[in-house]
């Protein structure tokens, strides 16, 4: 890493999923990128986390979570002053158009269906963040 990159602020990605395996997997998928990854265990936790950090560049969120689900979380983010423009990717194993449509309706920018692979995650993230893409 050269000095110029080092002095630049790392881009921050928030991952909200109640499964620790998924959190680890997404973190792992983005490990080769110079990103700062923040994780949250549900929508409520995620809201709290982003309220504590000044800058969030991308949010990756599951739909089915306890306490506050993905839809409600996205609505909250879109309704907030601070983060309403942050791109949001839904990561879900809910099949079917319905939840996809609903997700987009409440303000998500992209939708990844499980089972997903590391490359797909990286690709989707690269649409929104300035990251180096691995050669395919």
């Amino acid at each position: 890493m050269n000095e110029e990159q080092q002095s630049k602020h790392k881009q921050v990605v928030l991952i909200a999923d109640d499964s620790s395996t998924v959190r680890k997997f997404v973190t792992f998928s983005l490990a080769s990128q110079s990103l700062e990854v923040v994780t949250a265990v549900d929508g409520m936790d995620a809201l709290e986390k982003i309220s504590q950090i000044p800058q969030v560049d991308l949010i990756i969120v599951d739909l089915n979570m306890p306490n506050m689900d993905g839809f409600e979380f996205i609505q909250n983010v879109r309704g907030s002053e601070l983060h309403r423009d942050v791109p949001i990717i839904i990561l879900s194993s809910e099949r079917g158009e319905e939840s996809k449509q609903r997700g987009i309706a409440v303000g998500a920018n992209a939708y990844i269906e499980k089972p997903f692979d590391a490359k797909n995650i990286e690709y989707q993230v690269s649409k929104f963040l300035d990251i180096k893409k691995k050669p395919v």
């Binding site: 395996t21 997997f25 089915n64």
Partner: protein
């Protein structure tokens, strides 16, 4: 290509998957057993989410069969979630079987084994439950003809029976389901209240309010609008208490009890007439309205609201955890131990210096630093210990499932009561206590609790109770496993042992009551005619005793024929720090861990006699083996000294008792156990050493090994 080839480089993710799945499975087991007796929406949601997570994670890791099974289970749970199905015994059975399958599967993943599993029958069963709940239940019972009694047990234990899959099977079924759900809510509310001495408090009001809100919903859904209104009023009243707008009061408590009482009457009428009728109780409504409007003064309100806000913050901040490698914790623990020793030495050095030097400001400073270092060290040590502490619920949580399966299997009715689940103890102790406890609980269920027929004939309640409790007593934890079953007959045990050749008739004659009961801990001794397949791994009571011994613990039996048994286990809270009694053996000192000590007595050496080359002493009706510590450790004895006083320290090793003879009792000592190091290696009967404040090393006795080495164990 193996599924694991695709996961190369992802070991971390795979390990996380294993940990998460195991944790979720434990919760699923617990929740499923709970769900059977108490159909609760949040429970279903939690179980649903677990299988949903399995579906997702197994999917992207490439475990196709696991994903498929999780998918079907998820679908079934979805039907439970939206009320299309009720959790019948058969459905719970199938979901538990799925959870068992996942446990097996995750074990294989741990070993990186890829197998093709025979999962179609299980998937078929799950699908069948979905197709028609009632048919599935009937099928399960028919296939299991041997346990007809158990079918009744399910129907009476409060869980909704399978009739009525919610898709419009007729008014009678719907009525039945509604009554049972109402009954479930009432039970929950009453348990909640019983736990709070029938008092409404700010703490439980929220919970209760939630239940009444659910009740209101249930009533309006079932065309009971007048009852629903009363539920709504009760809900409003409780919310006011929760928010601090109303203070908890005796009047409020009474009205709530009356509401519950009245609901029971409505339910009873509903059962009798096979139709739940809407009913009106204007007196209660007026009482509630009066309560709701009689708000407290504004000063009290603002104070209460302040409290509420503070509580909210606390709840939000709590519950964050990270996982730490055990090895790092061990290391920190050792360092904290070293720090304690250095602190002690510093304290000693300071005292010496203070005695020589006149006080001046630099000495004052040193004194202060010394004091604060002492305080901080103690706190660090406690904090590190606490990090290793886990609540015993980690072990207890397995047992409801065990009891449920056993009850269904044996056609028995039993209830497991858990007390003191929050009691914390060292992780290493938790791990070692898990199997012995499991065995004791199975034993109580298998051999202790009688069949409903026998219990009824004896005038006992048909449902047997097994109680598992944990509590702290000083530096120890006391765990009790008790049952209200058949109890044990000491004489029968002796007869059995004689028959098996475990003891000789001469031995039998000299046995005390305690000794006779302790026979159950002998290897190869089992009170049941045949070993049942319940335990599955053939652990006997002797293994329980061995494990407890390893932990420096003691075990005790209390039993009464026809009334039940109680096994009491006493264990040290941790294995790293020992509180013990410092004893003198002529010019040397040793520490005997308190965990082993029953009592100390001044010894009249003439009471000692030699039997077959070994010293014994008569102690509280028992003859117990005795050993002179000076003989064993070859301590120089001052033979000329007359009137030397002797003491016997009576110790317990699992169920056995021994006396250790010493020459003095020198008080309590808290010691961090240090291994003796490579040069000395293991010395039989010595657990390790500890360094005192004066730098002197004192040896700590390993009592179980000591008696074993002496050939007494």
């Amino acid at each position: 290509m193996s599924v694991y080839d695709n996961l190369v480089g992802m070991e971390e993710v795979l390990d996380e998957f294993i940990i998460e799945t195991i944790e979720l499975l434990e919760a699923v087991n617990e929740d499923l057993v709970h769900l059977e007796s108490d159909p609760d929406e949040e429970l279903v949601n939690r179980i649903f989410r677990a299988f949903h997570t399995f579906k997702g994670t197994c999917g992207f890791l490439g475990f196709t069969q696991a994903k498929d099974l999780a998918h079907v289970a998820e679908d079934l749970l979805n039907q439970l979630r939206n009320g299309k199905l009720q959790p019948s015994g058969a459905i719970i059975d199938n979901l538990l079987a799925s959870s068992d399958w996942f446990a097996q599967f995750i074990n294989d993943v741990k070993e990186r084994e890829e197998k093709v599993y025979e999962i179609d029958p299980l998937i078929e069963k799950l699908k069948a439950s979905m197709g028609d709940g009632a048919a599935a239940e009937a099928e399960a019972i028919a296939a299991d003809g041997a346990h007809e009694a158990e079918g009744e047990a399910i129907a009476t234990d409060g869980a909704p029976a399978a009739e009525g899959d919610g898709t419009g099977n007729g008014q009678a079924d719907k009525n039945e389901v509604c009554i049972q759900r109402l009954d479930g809510f009432l039970n929950k509310i009453e348990t909640e209240l019983a736990g709070a001495d029938q008092q409404i408090t700010e703490e439980n009001a929220g919970q209760l309010a939630g239940q009444f809100s659910d009740l209101q919903l249930l009533c309006s859904e079932n065309q009971l609008p007048t009852i629903a209104t009363l539920m709504d009023y009760t809900h409003q009243f409780l919310v006011a208490v929760e928010k601090g707008k109303l203070l908890p009061s005796a009047e409020g408590n009474v009205v709530l009890v009356e509401v519950l009482h009245w609901l029971h009457e409505v339910l009873d009428d509903g059962r009798e007439q096979a139709e739940l009728q809407d009913a009106d109780n204007s007196t209660l409504l007026e009482d509630l309205a009066a309560l709701i409007h009689g708000e407290v003064t504004s000063a009290a309100v603002s104070k209460k609201q302040g409290d509420g806000a503070a509580k909210g913050v606390k709840a939000a901040a709590g519950g964050q955890t990270i996982r730490v490698d055990m090895e790092r914790l061990e290391n920190l623990m050792n360092l904290a131990g070293e720090l304690v020793l250095s602190r002690n030495q510093l304290g000693q050095a300071y005292s010496t210096l203070a005695a020589e030097k006149t006080a001046d400001s630099s000495m004052d400073n040193l004194d202060q630093v010394n004091n604060s270092l002492g305080r901080i060290t103690t706190e660090i040590q406690e904090a590190v210990m606490q990090m290793r502490m886990l609540p015993i619920s980690n072990v207890f949580r397995k047992f409801p499932r065990v009891i449920r399966d056993l009850a269904r299997d044996k056609g028995k009715q039993m209830e497991l009561v858990l007390i003191g689940e929050d009691t914390e103890l060292d992780r290493s102790v938790i791990e070692s206590i898990s199997d012995p406890l499991l065995h004791l609980v199975r034993n109580a269920a298998d051999h202790g609790i009688e069949t409903p027929e026998i219990r009824k004939a004896m005038g006992k309640p048909e449902t047997g109770t097994i109680t598992l409790s944990a509590s702290h007593a000083g530096n120890h934890i006391i765990i009790e496993v008790s049952d209200d079953g058949a109890g044990m007959d000491a004489e029968k045990l002796v007869a059995k042992a004689l028959e098996k050749g475990t003891i000789s008739s001469m031995e039998a004659e000299s046995m005390s009551y305690r000794d006779k009961l302790n026979l159950i801990f002998r290897p190869g001794f089992s009170t049941a005619a045949k070993v049942t397949d319940v335990s599955g791994r053939g652990v006997g009571m002797d293994v329980v005793s061995t494990n407890i011994k390893k932990l420096n613990g003691a075990i005790d039996i209390e039993t009464k024929v026809g009334q039940g048994s109680k096994i009491v286990i006493k264990l040290p809270l941790t294995l790293a720090i020992v509180t013990g009694l410092k004893v003198a053996v002529w010019d040397e000192e040793y520490i005997i861990p308190f965990g082993s000590i029953i009592e100390t007595v001044k010894l009249d050496t003439s009471a000692l006699t030699k039997v077959e080359d070994k010293w014994v002493i008569r102690f509280r009706e028992s003859v117990i083996n005795t050993l002179y510590l000076d003989e064993w450790f070859s301590v120089p004895v001052d033979k000329d000294k007359k009137d030397q006083e002797y003491y016997a320290v009576v110790v317990s090793v699992a169920e056995f008792r021994y006396a250790l003879v010493v020459t003095g009792l020198n008080g309590q000592e808290e010691a961090v156990i240090k291994p003796l190091g490579q040069v000395l290696g293991r010395i039989p009967g010595i657990a390790g050493g500890t360094i005192g404040g004066d730098g002197k090393i004192t040896l700590i006795l390993d009592v179980p090994e000591l008696v074993h080495r002496m050939g007494l164990g």
